[in-house]
Symmetry: C3
């Protein structure tokens, strides 16, 4: 009987190990979703320190935006540390939605795809908001350090960003464009191409197809496109 | 003492079975959310094969859109297989948000309600995006086959879809309407009614109230409405 | 050997207790997300009873909206019980997205931050929808009673809400404003300040920073703002 009991206990031990592993992956996914949504709330009013603290201090860290890539903790600090003192009229709402999170088998790295969607505004016009509708797709990398998930790499494709009045041809010629694009941008590496609408570019998808397990066709599709140069790249 | 130990082991075995079941439901919910969000990313540039691969091959499979229902794997293939070669200017961004997922007690079927929201665009106007804002509510059915969740039934109510310039009366008379509606549509079953705004129709909710456990009042509310015929239904 | 077995069983018991606790928190988070998303679907067509049933009957219950706070179950019932018979043209779509849910250590209370985003419409104009784009941030409190999560406190900051045509200056002078603001509002406690755009106000964040574990800087930032009086507060 004791032998039978011992076998049962061994079987239980194995089951518990499996449960722990499966539960850990779900916990990791929830923790990562929380991290990314927190990032979004901090972004709304450009809370520089809180945003920077979402990132690892690893030298691998990077942030890729429309103009190019900022590298290392200094790059992240330079990018998000600017514009610390925004006036109250500045709103940078980017809602973080539609996560697909993939934790790697060792449980210390993960990737995620998200949409970011929302409204950016710089100052009221006619006593109301002057909305810029912004939509991006993120491909993220995360790292777990001392049991805490952090952002390792943030990379985004800007789908579109349009000032509603300008899109409709309702601004005067003398009205200055929104200030965001006019900042001096000094990425460590310039983006080669303009991948915004109407480029047709599909931002490479980190996850395989959830049913077939196969890679998806965006690389092949993108290869057919004739992308234009990135407008932020200075002429050589 | 050995008797006591045996009882403890039996109790543990039962606890582990319960934990496994509870964990499996959470895992199923996460897997289904992942599937649906992946579907949304594939929809953005109409990646036909990837979309079709999200569906089961069961004869029960169907897709219900504004014009009616496409049935069986052939119906899904016919619907999503069209328009494979979209020009780069085509964007069909539908962000999948606000999931309520209900796994049935056997763990092999599930239902889900989601919002789909985003921007559809066909070509640039005045060198910028010409946004069509689209909002739908989905009621989904999922099936687990060989341990993999797939879409069994996709059904949507179109809340509204408006071209921003047209809604504001800012298009010329000679400007063609967006091409989407002009496709020839051949659903296996035509939708009877127009349930878009301002019909007041509440798409039937698959889940009971999370607090009371009771069915909700949309059936009774819908019965009071005078719905108009579906505009896609040909005159008989 | 039996001694060793006993130790293994004791270790397993402890592991199973830990697993149960960890799993319960994930289950609670999923249940709360489900509750909040269900709330959003009921809100779309102002399903009064279903909305009210999402709340606890505790005297602690409250709902805080732009004009102030409604207290107790009667306050919730007064607020959501009004406007029961909306015409079909009324749409109040508020998609619930970007959750950060924090369950307290005893597992009977929780907090959550969400964005609500969507389209409110009162009647068609020019045979199409007349969209009011609305964006709020929620800070929620939840309570678990008899194993069921319910809303204890719902509080929101209105980021912005704009009628698209009015924002663009495209309505006639004689056109009445949307009816929502003209309802008589009788909160139990009036809101002091106008925290909508462009106030710069950051709605206090219930959660500490996910990486540093520290409180965030919004209290300090808000203190620097000169907020205007709440427009719904009657002159004394």
């Amino acid at each position: 009987m004791s032998d039978g009991l011992e076998m049962k206990v061994t079987a239980l031990q194995n089951e518990v190990i499996n449960l722990k592993q499966q539960l850990q992956v779900l916990q990791d996914i929830e923790d990562i979703k929380r991290l990314q949504c927190a990032y979004g709330y901090y972004l709304e009013r450009w809370m520089s320190e809180e945003i920077i603290d979402c990132f690892s201090n690893s030298p691998e860290v990077s942030g890729t935006f429309v103009e190019g890539t900022y590298k290392g903790p200094e790059g992240i600090r330079a990018y998000f540390g600017k514009s610390r003192e925004q006036p109250p009229e500045f709103l940078h709402q980017v809602m973080q939605v539609s996560p697909v999170i993939t934790v790697d088998p060792y449980g210390l790295r993960a990737k995620g795809r998200w949409y970011g969607y929302g409204t950016v505004a710089f100052r009221p016009v006619n006593n109301t908001i002057d909305p810029n509708i912004m939509s991006v797709v993120y491909e993220m990398e995360y790292i777990k350090e001392d049991s805490v998930w952090k952002i390792l790499k943030l990379a985004l494709q800007l789908h579109y960003s349009y000032n509603m009045r300008r899109m409709l041809g309702m601004t005067g010629e003398d009205e200055p464009a929104a200030p965001e694009g006019s900042l001096e941008l000094h990425p460590d590496e310039r983006a080669e191409f303009n991948t915004s609408y109407p480029s047709g570019y599909i931002y490479p998808i980190h996850f395989v197809h959830p049913v077939t397990g196969k890679p998806t066709s965006e690389v092949k599709r993108n290869a057919r496109l004739k992308l234009k140069p990135n407008p932020f790249k200075p002429a050589e």
